[in-house]
Amino acid sequence: MTLTDAPPRESLATVSLSKSFGGVKAVDDATVTFVDGKVNALIGPNGSGKTTFFNCVTGMIKPDSGSVSYRGNDVTGRSPHRIARAGIGRSFQLCRIFPRMTVLENVLVAHRTDGLRSLLKGARNDDEIERARGYLRRVGIDHLERSEAADISYGQQKLLELAGVLMAEPDLIMLDEPAGGVNPALIGRIGTLIRELNAEGRTFVVVEHNMEMVMSLSDHVIVFDRGRPIAEGPPSEVQTDPRVLEAYLGV
């Protein structure tokens, strides 16, 4: 499941992307291309700029310079909802859900709406509810659909966030530490889910510190250090790359 013969297509790509906070260069001249149809992993030590990179790509913060393109279209500086509608879904490192809505509503919200008509339609459309339930079932929390999202466990909230992302039917799914703060049984479930969804044709970019998960899950690994990629390749190669070892152990 690592290498294929077909030439990789471009999915998401950045050119010389930079973003500083005060004097800190969080993302520094990062030129990265993710492989379409694959599970891409983005790893790197704490503070290496992975989350900031995510935020720049998804429009949550404006990069200082550089560009972002998705499937060949320039999406630099577009607002987050337009990037979401272009087909990029994301999760947040500290899982973000709508705490005072029910689990089902959390998923229903994410449905893409077009046009005034559909906006004024009832929020509880039967087809949509069925679709939302389908995603809840997929992540395994459909039995909680009537609970308030604030009341379910953190691991379940992570699954809920994923279900919400899926509801918007993105082609590219960016997950910021899906296994962070989650118990091992759930990590296994999330890994399986990512693999299944990938098999259905969705591209993934996963930021993760759990190396076991990264190595077993990903097809392509990009290593960040101090805001820029320092190595990339199949997991087995990256694992033994001296630069990567240095970034993780050195300084």
Binding site: R90, L120, Y154, V165, G181, P184
Partner: protein
């Protein structure tokens, strides 16, 4: 799972709702006939106008969670717009009233466009600035607005006697309130409303899910300004005399906020209930103690109490109280908790099977919470 009993309780709740609604509507609509004197009746008109204003405010405050303390700007503009269209352009009263509402809605587009770029406390401050600017403009541009001398609004029904005038406006305000509530209800149950509520909960997250939050906020802000202006215009037609200090007062804006918060901003009838309580209290204080500043202190205290002890307002607080005495309703949560436990147990046993080395952790949900 719970379907059969659910449906039963839903239909029961529905019947109860209809009965309560009919009773309240009847009490409201017959008020003019059992109001003791014209003074009480005019107090009723004031309370209803507060209900309209507070419900209008709640389009922004309730759905998006943006607290505007400056909605008096739209109230005053609606009032002055109506009066000026009648006096300067000779339009008939209710045509002027409606056109003023539309005009204020148009005015709210650039205002919202600018104000909705900031969130939280900054938005509150911008909203206050708006009403202060309006106050200054209307005070100093006295050739046009009458300034501090006031502006007399021609009466729409010149032949009516006072009691009749109050009664007519009581029903006009009731009708306006009904339309405002209907519009809020329609948004509440729509996909648009769900997006707005997502903004209230977490605006960035809503954006990331593809909701054009800025446009959503702007639309609902304009709707809110429109109804607030209609409330202001109706007030002008009823009261017949305008003064910038009253029309553009922070106090009026604060009342709208207080009433909505007190009743509950997430509830359709929250602002109405808050207006009934606060409005009645205000009118009572004015009657008992005259026009002292005492009611200001009382208002401030009440606002503090609500924010500290009932952040969701009295409707949710009351519902929680009712919940405590009715076992069926709370069973939904118990059921979830039981299922949660069941799931956690199956998960931990599954895990114990796979990783024989980690049986010391029987309840994943608690450990996950601890990690947070």
């Amino acid at each position: 799972m719970l379907n059969a009993s659910d449906r039963l309780s839903v239909s029961k709740a529905f019947v109860a709702k209809v009965v309560v609604f009919a009773a309240c509507a009847a009490a409201l609509l017959t008020f003019p006939s059992w109001a003791a004197n014209p003074y009480i009746l005019s107090a009723g008109v004031v309370v209803l106008s507060y209900a309209v204003l507070s419900t209008s405010w709640n389009f922004v405050g309730g759905f998006t969670g943006y607290i505007s303390l400056g909605h008096a700007a739209f109230f005053g503009l609606g009032a002055y717009g109506t009066a000026l269209l009648i006096t300067k352009l000779d339009l008939s009263s209710f045509v002027a009233w409606f056109l003023a509402g539309v005009g204020v809605a148009l005015f709210a587009i650039p205002v919202g466009w600018a104000a909705l770029r900031v969130r939280g406390a900054s938005f509150v401050i911008v909203s206050i600035a708006l009403v202060l600017i309006m106050l200054l403009v209307f005070q100093s541009w006295s050739d046009f607005t009458g300034g501090s001398n006031g502006l007399v609004v021609p009466r729409p029904f010149p032949d009516m006697l006072r009691p009749e005038h109050h009664e007519t406006f009581f029903y006009l305000f009731a009708a306006l309130l009904a339309v405002t509530l209907l519009c809020w209800w329609l948004i509440d149950r729509s996909r648009f409303g769900m997006g707005l509520k997502a903004i209230r909960e977490d605006e960035d997250k809503a954006e990331a899910l593809g909701i054009p939050t800025y446009s959503y906020k702007l639309v609902v802000y304009v709707v809110s300004a429109f109804f607030t202006a209609l409330g202001g215009g109706m007030y002008a037609l009823w009261f017949g005399d305008l003064d910038p200090v009253f029309q553009f007062s922070i106090l009026i804006g604060s009342y709208m906020v207080l009433m909505a918060l007190l009743g509950g901003v997430r509830q359709l009838y929250g602002p109405l209930l808050g207006a009934l309580i606060v409005g009645t209290a205000l009118e009572y204080f004015k009657l008992e103690f005259g026009d002292t500043q005492f009611h200001l202190v009382a208002t401030g205290l009440l606002l503090g109490i609500v924010v500290l002890f009932m952040p969701d307002g009295i409707i949710p607080a009351g519902m929680k109280l009712v919940d405590r005495f009715t076992p069926e309703r709370s069973s939904i949560r118990e059921m979830t908790a039981a299922e949660l436990l069941e799931r956690d147990q199956s998960e931990s046993s599954e895990r114990a099977g796979r990783h024989a080395s980690t049986p010391s952790d029987p309840e994943p949900s608690t450990t996950e919470k601890a990690k947070r």
